[in-house]
């Protein structure tokens, strides 16, 4: 019996030993978990948080990391530049069906504040990092101020006045922060960008190029002031009444001072640029001289990584990770089996996003005159007419597009970019293939996967100045700045002196220069274009349609294409409420924020 009792005691003892490990319920050993203490305990980890803040902040409006609320398309598809792409895509509905609603906007409202929160977490905690020097910490704080300014600038353009957040909230904070006035929002952007300017360096070491510089801070401020001066905001009455809250969407008066402020800010960007090897690229022409190297210079400015015209870019290496963004821009069908690279197989989403005739007409011919394109209802013209006229187009058209039946101009002699390789067919009965298809951002790209989205390009500030000086009545200055951009594109100088006529020419220059760069969608609204509902954002779109010779059907064989006509295609929705974006219903229902009018 005794033996048995010993034995039982031993069993119980063993069980007890095994079970009474005190730490049994402690968090098990794990790897890769980073807490707020460890993030800011080393500069390596803190720099990762910084990278995340950059990515989150700068992707506003871009198809990456949840940057927008409209999937599977680009803003080109709803701004009168191009067709909206696949009919099942969200953007198609936004544009062609019922416009924007409180559940469908081009921006993800809450993501703005996600980005801002990330920025403040870093600026509030960066001082804790032990192995980072004080200068670097100062830069980081300035960068975070700059990124926050960038986001606010984007919100200002999209929504008008928005809530001002100036710290990392904790759950016990009072979160009932209403929308600020338009003026207070602008002041916040200026304050942040001034702070960023003060703290940022003029340049970064080679491997860090892509982070904010003093020039970028100036550019944020200049763009914000330019939009503040434009008629949508710089007005006594808003586009639609918001009653007592009109000051959230309108300054309540028209002031020329806003244009003067814009001039100062834009001149500052150009001055900074000139002293830091950043300027518009023009390798051939002088003042008032058409640039003979226009295709190369404009192509380089919009496509080649780290060219001197780009002040800030959103850089992506598409080979390294399968980011969504390039799907919407890469125009090449090629694949490993057909001479291209594998990533290009993702191109399918751009098949039905061709340029519309309404936009094609905006382009000049290479000699600076207008091209004679067929009107809807005109008799069919032979394909050779199309081919000839396309070859006559200005260099910027050729840098940004390929035409049906013609090898891409922007990658001359490269078989990857031959029409045979990149075409997705021409319009026969359906719609979407457009008059031409985009090759923008891929000038002399070959199979390069390094993709840079220009966030600030120096030609913007010259056009800003042209616009502002024209509004201030300074025609000479306006023309001087306009022609810097116009001549660079290989076109003879513009000499128009009538203010209204010149305004339209400046806007035309804007449209061409920044095709597919997410600008026109906002510009036409802030300019309050009178034709916005007739073929710009709303109204009748037109598109070429082609006919094959009898018995032929291969779009890659130019000789098989018989003729083309211009036809009415989609007729998208426009409503004045769409001047500004809606705040999502889910936020409005929390009864803190005021909705923009009409939604």
């Amino acid at each position: 019996m005794k033996k048995i009792i010993y034995f039982i005691s031993a069993i119980i003892g063993a069980t007890g030993l095994y079970s009474c490990q005190k730490e049994f319920l402690e968090k098990p050993e794990t790897t890769g978990n980073t807490t707020i203490e460890t993030v800011f305990a080393s500069s390596v980890e803190a720099t990762k948080a910084l990278a995340n803040a950059y990515r989150t902040s700068l992707c506003q409006g871009l198809f990456d990391n949840g940057g927008t609320n409209i999937g599977n398309g680009t803003l080109s598809g709803i701004s009168g530049e191009a067709m909206p792409g696949e009919s099942w895509a969200d953007i198609y509905a936004a544009y062609s069906l019922a416009g924007l609603t409180s559940e469908r906007s081009t921006d993800n409202f809450a993501n703005n504040f996600v980005a801002i929160r990330r920025n403040y977490i870093i600026s509030e905690n960066i001082d804790k990092v032990p192995d980072m020097d004080g200068a670097t910490k100062g830069y980081v704080k300035a960068e975070m101020a700059g990124l926050t300014a960038y986001r606010y600038m984007g919100m200002f353009i999209r929504y008008g006045g928005v809530p001002i957040v100036n710290k990392t909230f904790i759950s016990s904070d009072d979160l009932a922060i209403p929308r600020a006035t338009l003026q207070a929002t602008l002041d916040n952007i200026i304050q942040l960008s001034d702070a960023a300017y003060a703290g940022l360096p003029d340049s970064w070491p080679d491997k860090s190029v892509g982070r904010l510089t003093k020039g970028a801070a100036l550019a944020i401020k200049a763009r914000a002031l330019q939009y503040a001066a434009r008629p949508l905001f710089n007005s006594a009455t808003p586009y639609l009444s918001l009653g007592a809250n009109n000051n959230m969407i309108c300054f309540g008066n028209v002031s020329q001072q806003r244009w003067t402020d814009a001039v100062t800010a834009n001149e500052a960007v150009i001055a900074w640029g000139k002293s830091h090897a950043t300027d518009i690229i023009n390798t051939g022409g002088g003042a008032n001289t058409p640039n003979p190297n226009a295709l190369d210079d404009y192509g380089t400015a919009t496509s080649i990584p780290n060219n001197k015209e780009v002040l800030l870019a959103y850089k992506l290496d598409n080979n390294a990770n399968n980011v969504k963004m390039f799907k919407f821009y890469i125009p090449v069908r090629g694949s490993s089996g057909r001479g291209g690279t594998d990533i290009n197989n993702e191109r399918y989403l751009t098949d039905n996003a061709g340029m519309i005739t309404n936009f094609l007409r905006i382009y000049y011919k290479a000699d600076g005159t207008d091209q004679n394109w067929p009107k809807v209802g005109d008799a069919a013209r032979p394909y050779t007419d199309y081919n000839t006229r396309m070859q006559q187009m200005e260099p910027r058209f050729k840098a940004d597009n390929y035409a049906h039946g013609i090898d891409a101009w922007n990658n001359p002699g490269n078989s990857v970019w031959s029409y045979d390789n990149i075409n997705s067919g021409v319009n026969i009965s359906g719609s979407g293939k457009g008059d031409a298809q985009s090759t923008k951002f891929y000038y002399k790209a070959g199979t390069r996967s390094w993709f840079e989205w220009p966030l600030f390009r120096m030609s913007e500030f010259y056009l800003n100045l042209a616009e502002a000086y024209n509004e201030l009545g300074n025609t000479a200055k306006a023309l001087q700045n306009l022609n810097i951009v116009h001549n660079r594109a290989g076109l003879p100088s513009i000499t128009e002196s009538d203010q209204s006529a010149l305004r339209l020419l400046i806007q035309r220059e804007w449209s061409i220069e920044f095709y597919k760069e997410n600008r026109r969608y906002f510009d036409v609204k802030h300019w309050k274009r009178s034709d916005i509902a007739s073929g710009v954002i709303g109204g009748q779109y037109e598109e070429f349609r082609f006919t094959f010779a009898p018995g032929k059907s291969n779009p890659a064989i130019t000789a098989d294409i018989l003729s083309y006509t211009n036809n009415n295609t989609l007729s998208p929705y426009w409503n004045a409420k769409m001047y500004l974006e809606p705040i999502p219903l889910s936020e409005i229902n929390k009864r803190i924020l005021v909705q923009n009018p009409g939604y």
């Binding site: 048995i4 079970s19 890769g32 990762k48 910084l50 929160r117 219903l585």
Partner: protein
């Protein structure tokens, strides 16, 4: 007597405190455990309580009853057998055919992603396991499966209990001479329902309508009359992809051999089982191709020993190998392609070259997908080993015992495949996809995931009776340590559970029970890891009272009630909210910089906002039950329950977006779930003729009381106050007609839909808020939730001499499904280059010149080839009742007479034929061609089988 009574009360109290080691008492102990096993014991934890004395709500079914359904997957044998368990048939793909299970409806918000199913926990022989282990147990190794439903039954489960427990007991050896029995069965399996698209002619005719609708309703056919004629007379391409890929039926076989026997000192029950199932794919088994198959080998050895009158030991080994093999193409994609690829896209093989056809739009030729890509196989090994040692300490005090138990459960999978590829051709040319002919290549054996689970228990128990008093009590310590492949935060799960039960009965008339669990989980903040879960219950066996004791009519009348608390650690939050008390950063995105070369800077991002107060959700359960038997023939039982959930881990949606993170969670959610279960059973025997009929019904209804919902503009938009997983949508009111439009195509009046321009034949909706716009503000609850509110079953069995016949019917009520989202490929015609099914045959169309006018009779919106946000969105037009009744099982058997069997030196011999799921009554199937349980992908399976069982 009084003295002893007090003593025993003190004793049991002390036991519950875990300190009673040497208190002496002198009454005789209960009968020995072997004898107790033969009594009718209610399956449950820690204590062996006779059914009659139980205070808990438990439904049980024997392994023999489950064996009646020839299927490899145990979850597919449970239909209609356990009252309170909802079972939904899933895919019939061999090896991937788990049914969805749910006990007493949906109690928690944290389970909506699976429609409220699969929230239960599984315990086998007292140790926790999971679905991986449960699903492919063989019915031959199972003694019983029970569902534990109320607070009394779940008292000891702590944070594992709130959503019910499936409690499995495996077969143990019985004292007696060695018995060998052999069972085998084989049969054919067929799809319950295959919804085929229209043929090429039907497709092309309707496509002409669709494209014309898209072109301003001007007749602009894509297919010419000559082409249509060609489809009709067989000269055009017209491929029935289902026909080419599937065969009519597939074989199923299983067999098992059991050995059982032993004496008082050693008993054994050993089961060996083999099963083999093949899929409906029409593909041969060769070196390069394989049908989808699964083979299962089970071995279970349960041994009981007794030593020195003190020790009792159990050694249980449950081992299993599962071998799966399938064509090297995702089954989900294959079934999607079968539905999506129109009949006229191309012939199976390209005429000119004899290669498989394929285009960039339809790249994966379904026939080639199963024949030309090679195969994939997985090899799963599962072993559960349990060891229990019990010491009877009657020497110290009669009825006192200790027990220790250890369980090791190991699961691992490795994968092996042989892959190939084929070139796609179209009209004699490469068809678009750039795949090239690639010869068969083998991969090495590569890991496919593993788990191991170590559990330990220590028990101190005390069981005595004193005259009319009987006490059963035990105090248990359970420690669970689970490891699996998983994320850094998710691969180890640990808990500790100190639990106890004390069941006291007086004179077999009054029973009271106390149970508790003090449960600690590793996922919560230090100091906040432990929860206390008490339960109290009682029953009154009225039929043992003097006034009923001798009643002829009422042979049993029992009432019981329970109340108590349980918890749940599960949540749909990332990792169920584990370790949420700390603020984490995760790797997120890459930001690129660089001048001469580009550098990816990896990012770190703040994860879900830390909340130190996160804890398990809690459930307060109340149950009242009654059982009555009349004339020993008709038995009825009824249970009503109420389950109040609180502290459900929920995203706080009320926080404004300017907070900068929506990932803020807290124990906010509240849900009420209530319902009842009724059952009736009548059996009788008249001479050689025996018969029985039975039926049962379970009803459950839940309501979200609070879940920090995003504030909604109108009450009818809200989900708060409605059922979990309720369907929401617009309310439709017919189609727009020609008269609704002006000549220029604009609407004449009435509310304007915000989802796109409409034209005649589009769906019209009700403007609930009267703002003249149809938008999200007009969405309200439509139909019911996916999880059925009612599950019922009934059946009958007859026996005459050697013959026996039985049938089992099962059905559900009050369940809806949004067919648009559940079966998009079959419902949305043409959209996204899709196909068209019979459901769209009578779409709204008006082309008088073509003789097409369905305006008056249409039951489908006008066809379109483009996406249509107005028509194809959730509305009552697409949310349909899922109610159905199914004949689950019918079996006819013949048992040879003992005299005949004896001549063959056998003790029992039976042959039978049976059918599983042979008949279904469902409106969904009738109106939309959709099976109400398995709406898309691999269909549910019906089978016809024959088998024999022999006992030597």
């Amino acid at each position: 007597m009084t003295n002893q009574y007090i003593k025993s009360t003190v004793l049991s109290a002390c036991l519950l405190l875990g300190t009673a080691m040497n208190i002496a008492a002198q009454n005789k102990s209960l009968r020995d455990s072997a004898a107790r096993d033969t009594a009718r014991i209610e399956p449950g934890r820690l204590l062996n309580i006779k059914k009659i004395n139980s205070t808990a709500a438990v439904s049980s079914v024997s392994g023999e009853a489950l064996y009646q359904t020839p299927t490899m997957n145990l979850t597919n044998t449970l239909y209609g057998r356990l009252n309170g368990l909802s079972v939904n048939l899933g895919s019939g793909e061999p090896g991937y055919d788990n049914a969805a299970l749910g006990i007493r409806g949906v109690g928690s918000l944290s389970s909506t992603s699976a429609g409220g199913y699969n929230t239960y926990k599984v315990f086998v022989d007292g140790f926790e396991t999971n679905l991986n282990y449960l699903a492919y147990l063989s019915a031959a190794e199972i003694e019983s499966i029970s569902i534990l439903k109320d607070a009394a039954a779940l008292a000891t489960f702590g944070m594992r209990g709130a959503n019910g427990v499936i409690y499995v007991l495996t077969k143990r050896g019985k004292v007696g001479k060695p018995t060998i029995s052999f069972q085998a069965r084989t049969g054919i399996q067929k799809a319950i329902n295959i919804n085929k698209p229209l043929d090429a002619f039907g497709y092309a005719s309707l496509y002409n309508q669709a494209i014309s609708n898209d072109k301003g309703r001007v007749w602009s056919p894509l297919y010419s009359p000559a082409q249509l004629q060609g489809y009709r007379n067989g000269t055009g391409t017209n491929v029935d992809w289902f026909d080419k890929v599937l065969k009519n039926h597939a074989p199923y076989t299983d067999g098992d051999l059991s050995f059982t026997g032993g004496d008082d000192n050693a008993r054994y029950n050993i089961v060996m089982d083999y099963a083999n199932q093949q899929a409906l794919y029409n593909v041969k088994q060769t070196d390069a191709t394989s049908n989808s198959t699964v083979k299962r080998y089970n071995l279970r050895s349960n041994l009981d020993f007794k030593m020195f009158d003190i020790f009792e030991a159990k050694v249980d080994l449950g081992a299993r190998i599962e071998d799966r093999k399938a064509p090297n193409y995702s089954g989900a994609n294959l079934w999607q392609n079968l539905s999506r690829y129109p009949s006229n896209i191309y012939p199976v093989r390209d005429g000119a070259t004899g290669n498989y056809s394929g285009t960039s739009l339809f790249p994966d030729n379904p026939v080639a997908s199963i024949n030309s890509l090679g195969w994939f196989s997985s090899h799963r090994r599962i072993l559960q080993g349990n060891f229990t040692l019990k010491e009877r300490l009657d020497e110290l005090t009669p009825g006192l015992y200790l027990s220790q138990a250890y369980s090791f459960n190991s699961y691992s999978q490795s994968n092996y495949s042989k892959t190939a590829d084929y070139a796609r051709f179209f009209n004699g040319q490469p068809g678009g996809p750039t795949n090239v002919l690639t010869p068969l290549r083998a991969t090495g054996m590569i890991p496919g995931g593993q788990e191991d689970w170590k559990q330990l228990m220590g028990t101190i128990g005390y069981e005595r009776s004193f005259g009319k008093h009987q006490i059963l009590s035990a105090l248990n310590y359970h420690q669970s340590d689970f490891k699996s492949d998983g994320g850094a935060d998710a691969y180890i799960y640990r808990y500790q559970n100190i639990s106890g039960r004390a069941n006291y009965s007086y004179d077999n008339r009054y029973v009271a029970e106390l149970g508790f669990s003090y449960f600690g989980a590793d996922g919560y903040a230090p100091g906040n890891r432990w929860g206390f879960y008490p339960a109290i219950s009682a029953s009154w066996i009225v039929s043992n009272e003097e006034f009923l004791k001798d009643s002829k009519s009422i042979s049993l009348l029992k009432l019981r009630a329970s109340a108590g608390k349980t918890g749940s650690m599960d949540s749909e939050t990332q990792n169920s909210g584990r370790f949420l008390y700390q603020q984490y950063y995760n790797n997120s995105g890459t930001f690129y910089t660089g001048n001469s070369s580009i550098t990816g800077n990896s990012g770190l991002n703040q994860n879900i906002l830390a909340n130190p107060d996160i804890f398990a959700e809690q459930s307060l359960k109340y149950n009242f039950g009654a059982e009555v038997t009349f004339f020993k023939k008709l038995s009825l039982s009824a249970d009503v329950f109420l389950d109040k959930r609180s502290g459900i881990l929920t995203r706080d949606n009320t926080i404004t977006g300017i907070y900068g993170t929506i990932n803020s969670f807290a124990n906010l959610g509240k849900v009420t779930n209530k319902g009842f279960e009724l059952s009736a059973n009548f059996s009788d025997k008249k001479g050689d003729f025996g018969y029985g009929i039975w039926g049962q019904v379970a009803y459950n209804k839940n309501r979200i009381d609070y879940f920090a919902e995003i504030p909604q503009p109108y009450e009818y938009n809200q989900q708060t106050g409605r059922s979990i997983a309720q369907n929401y949508g617009l309310v439709s009111k017919g189609f727009y007609q020609l008269e609704d439009f002006n000549a220029n195509g604009t609407l004449k009046g009435g509310p304007v839909p915000a989802f796109g321009l409409v034209q005649p034949g589009d769906l019209k909706y009700q403007d609930l808020n009267g703002d003249n716009i149809i938008d999200e503000k007009d969405i309200t609850s439509v139909g019911k939730s996916l999880f059925p509110e009612m599950t019922y079953s009934f059946g009958a069995n007859f026996s005459y001499k050697g013959f026996d016949l039985s049938a089992l019917f099962q059905g559900i009520g009050s369940s809806s499904v949004n067919i648009l989202s559940a079966a998009p490929n079959q419902i949305q015609a043409f959209v996204g280059n899709g196909n068209v099914f019979p459901v769209a045959q009578n779409a709204w169309a008006y082309y008088p010149d073509q003789g097409i006018d369905t305006r008056a009779t249409a039951n489908y919106p006008r066809l379109t080839t483009a996406a249509n946000n107005n028509n194809y969105r959730a509305s009552d037009f697409w949310v349909k009742s899922r109610d159905f009744l199914r004949l689950r099982n019918v079996e006819l058997g013949y048992t040879f007479s003992p005299a005949f069997v004896k001549k063959l030196s056998l003790s029992n011999l039976r042959f039978y034929v049976n059918a599983v799921n042979p008949l279904t009554w469902s409106r969904l199937e009738k109106d939309y061609g959709l099976d109400p349980e398995t709406l898309s992908a691999y269909p549910g399976i019906k089978s016809f089988n024959t088998g024999l069982s022999v006992t030597f």
